[in-house]
C-alpha cells in the first residue's frame, strides 16, 4: 500500500494533495490517504471521493496548529502500523519542514521535489531536478521500505486523479506526547495587504538576476508600459530590494497565469517556474541558451537583453 499524506489548514485541503494522489496512482498500488489536524472537518469526505482504498483521519489537539515534532510523532506511529511501501507528500513548505525529520528518525530514504515516476511498484525510480534545474536526475531509493517521496507542485495533474467510489473513512489515534513538542507557533499572518494582485494581470514583464542593477529595471518598465503589463520579478531581485516583495513570482511569492509572461534575464529556478508556468504564452530572453526558463517558454531569444528589450519595446510601441 502507498500512504499519501494530505495537507489541510483550518479544514481546507491543500490542492497539491491531489497532485500527490495523482503521483501515487502512477505507482499502481492501493492507496491510503491520511489527513492530520485538530479537527479536519469535511476534508476526509472530500478525499474519500477520490479513487483511494481508504482515508485515515488522525485528529489530536496537538495537531491543531502544525509543528514538525507533533507531525513526526503522529506519522511515525501511523507508518509503523500501516507498513506502506511508499509514503508520498506534496513538496510544500510544510512537508519540507517535517518529512526529513520523519525519514531520518525512521532511517528511511526520502526523495524530494519529484517531477516524474518511472515504472511502478517497488522497483520504481524517480525523476527530480538537480543543479537548479540544469539537469534532471533519475534517482532510486536505497535501503528498506517505506520510501518517502515528495512531489514537486505542478508536476502531477490534480485533474488527472482517477476518481472512484466513496472510500471508507477510518479514525486513527495519533500517538503524540505533547511534552515532547519543542516548537511553539503563533497563528500564521500576512504582511501588509498586497497592493498589487499580479494574479489579475493580463500581461506580466518579469525580471531576474540578468537585469544586473536596480537602474536597469527601467528597461523592463518601459516594455511593460508599451504592452500594458505589470512588472514582476524573481526572488533575488526582491531580496535585493530592487522591487517590493509583493511583486515576487514563485513559490514564496505569487502564482500567476497571465495571457503573456515575458521573462527577462530569469534563469528559471524551480521556485520561480512553479509560480508562472501556467501562463498561456511565455517569452524568455536570456543570454544563457541552457537556462531552464527555455524549457517552459513558447518563444525564446538567446542574447543580450539590454539590446533586445529596447528594440522589442520600440517595435511594440509602433502599433
Amino acid at each position: 500500500v502507498i500512504l499519501v499524506v494530505a495537507e489541510q489548514r483550518e479544514g481546507k485541503l491543500n490542492r497539491a494533495s491531489w497532485e500527490a494522489i495523482a503521483a501515487a496512482q502512477a505507482l499502481a498500488m492501493p492507496i491510503a490517504v491520511v489527513v492530520l489536524g485538530g479537527s479536519v472537518g469535511g476534508v476526509a469526505d472530500e478525499l474519500a471521493a477520490s479513487g483511494v482504498a481508504e482515508v485515515l483521519v488522525g485528529e489530536h489537539q496537538a495537531l491543531a496548529v502544525y509543528t514538525p515534532d507533533a507531525y513526526t510523532m503522529a506519522l511515525r506511529g501511523i507508518v509503523d502500523t500501516l507498513k506502506p511501501s511508499f509514503v508520498l507528500f506534496a513538496h510544500t513548505y510544510q512537508t519540507r519542514d517535517f518529512a526529513p525529520m520523519l525519514a531520518a528518525r525512521l532511517r528511511r530514504s526520502l526523495i524530494t521535489d519529484v517531477t516524474g515516476v518511472n515504472g511502478s511498484g517497488a522497483g520504481a525510480t524517480f525523476t527530480r531536478p538537480m543543479f537548479q534545474g540544469k539537469l534532471a536526475a533519475e534517482v532510486k531509493p536505497v535501503g528498506e521500505a517505506p520510501y518517502f517521496i515528495s512531489v514537486q507542485i505542478g508536476s502531477f495533474r490534480a485533474d488527472a486523479v482517477q476518481r472512484g467510489g466513496k472510500a471508507p473513512v477510518r479514525k486513527v489515534d495519533p500517538q503524540i506526547d505533547p511534552a515532547a513538542i519543542r516548537q511553539a507557533p503563533d497563528a500564521p499572518f500576512q504582511e501588509a495587504r498586497q497592493a498589487v494582485d499580479l494574479g489579475q494581470a493580463e500581461r506580466i514583464v518579469a525580471v531576474g538576476r540578468g537585469i544586473r542593477s536596480q537602474e536597469n529595471i527601467a528597461i523592463a518598465e518601459k516594455l511593460a508600459r508599451a504592452i500594458g503589463a505589470e512588472v514582476a520579478a524573481s526572488r533575488p531581485i526582491c531580496d535585493n530590494g530592487w522591487l517590493p516583495m509583493e511583486r515576487q513570482i514563485g513559490s514564496s511569492g505569487q502564482t500567476v497565469a497571465p495571457k503573456l509572461y515575458v521573462a527577462l534575464g530569469i534563469s528559471g529556478a524551480i521556485q520561480h517556474l512553479v509560480g508562472m508556468k501556467g501562463a498561456r504564452t511565455i517569452v524568455a530572453i536570456n543570454k544563457d541558451a541552457d537556462a531552464p526558463i527555455f524549457e517552459v517558454a513558447d518563444y525564446g531569444i538567446v542574447g543580450d537583453l539590454f539590446e533586445i528589450v529596447p528594440a522589442l519595446t520600440s517595435e511594440l510601441e509602433k502599433s
Binding site: 510544510q94 524530494t112 539537469l135 536526475a137 536505497v142 503563533d186 511565455i282 524549457e295
Partner: protein, 259 residues
C-alpha cells in the same frame, strides 16, 4: 553564544553542465565552485547574531579537499574557525551522508545554535539541515526570515523567537528553546563581502580536519543524470537584436495573439 554554520561548496551559477561518462555524476574537473548562496545568508545571520550577543561562529563543511575554498571565504567574512569533514567521496554524497558526517564532527562541540541554508544549489534535497537536527537531537525550524534570541537567565539556555516563511506571502512566529537548528531563507539579510583585512586574518584561523566516520549509509542513488526534457516546443528566434525583436513582436501579435 556558540554558533555553527554549515556551508556547502557548489558549482557556480555560470557553470554549463557536462556529465561524467557513466552519466551518474557531473564531470568535476570542468567545474568552478562557489559558496552555496543560501548558506551565505546563514553565515551572514550567524555573524550578525555574534555581533549582537557575543560568542563565536564556527564554519562546518563536509566535502573533498576543494571545499577549503569556501571555508576560507567564510573565515575571511568573519567566522572564527572551521571544522572540515574531508573525504573525496563526499562531493556527490546525498543529504543523509552529509548530515551524518556533520553530526559526527559537531556532536562534541555542543553548539547553542546551528544554521544552514534552506537547500543547496547542487542536489537541492532541502533535507540536510533537518536531518542534522534530528541526528544532533535538537529541535529545528525551516525557511526562517528573522531570528531573535532571548537570552536565558544566569547561564541558562535561552529561547528563540523566529519568523518562518509559509507559502504565498504568509508568515508565522515560532518560539523554540536553544540549542536548536534553523534553515535560513535567502534574502533574510544583506550579505557582507570579505575585506582585505579579513582575507589576511583568515589565513591564521584554524581549520580542524575531521575524518569521515566509516559505514555511513546513503539513502538514495543517482541512476543517471540527463539534460531535462522540454515540456513545450520552444520556438527559438535567431538574428540580430533588432531582427529578433521584430520577429518576436510579429509572432506575439499574429501567432500568439498575446497583445
Amino acid at each position: 553564544m556558540k554558533i555553527a554554520v554549515c556551508i556547502k561548496q557548489v558549482p557556480t551559477r555560470e557553470w554549463q553542465p557536462r556529465l561524467r561518462d557513466d552519466k551518474a555524476w557531473i564531470r568535476e574537473q570542468d567545474v568552478s565552485y562557489e559558496m552555496n548562496e543560501p548558506d551565505a545568508y546563514a553565515l551572514e545571520e550567524a555573524l550578525r547574531l555574534r555581533e549582537k550577543h557575543g560568542g563565536e561562529v564556527v564554519v562546518c563543511s563536509a566535502g573533498p579537499a576543494r571545499v577549503q575554498q569556501v571555508i576560507r571565504e567564510a573565515l575571511a567574512r568573519g567566522a572564527d574557525r572551521a571544522l572540515h569533514v574531508e573525504d573525496d567521496g563526499l562531493g556527490a554524497a546525498d543529504a543523509f551522508v552529509i548530515a551524518d558526517a556533520l553530526a559526527a564532527a559537531m556532536a562534541d562541540e555542543q553548539f547553542d545554535l546551528v544554521l544552514t541554508g534552506l537547500q543547496s544549489d547542487d542536489q537541492g534535497h532541502a533535507q540536510t539541515g533537518v536531518v542534522l537536527a534530528e541526528r544532533l537531537g535538537i529541535p529545528h525550524s525551516t525557511i526562517i526570515m528573522e531570528v531573535q534570541v532571548e537570552e536565558g537567565a544566569a547561564g541558562g539556555a535561552g529561547r528563540l523567537r523566529l519568523k518562518r516563511e509559509l507559502e504565498g506571502g504568509w508568515f508565522q512566529w515560532i518560539g523554540m528553546p536553544l540549542p536548536a537548528l534553523l534553515t535560513i531563507q535567502s534574502g533574510i539579510n544583506q550579505l557582507r563581502y570579505a575585506t582585505l583585512k579579513g582575507i589576511m586574518a583568515a589565513k591564521k584561523k584554524e581549520i580542524r580536519k575531521v575524518a569521515l566516520p566509516a559505514g555511513l549509509q546513503p539513502a538514495q542513488q543517482i541512476v543517471a543524470l540527463s539534460m531535462p526534457t522540454r515540456s513545450k516546443q520552444t520556438q527559438m528566434i535567431a538574428g540580430s537584436a533588432a531582427e529578433a525583436a521584430k520577429e518576436l513582436a510579429r509572432r506575439l501579435r499574429e501567432e500568439a495573439r498575446a497583445l
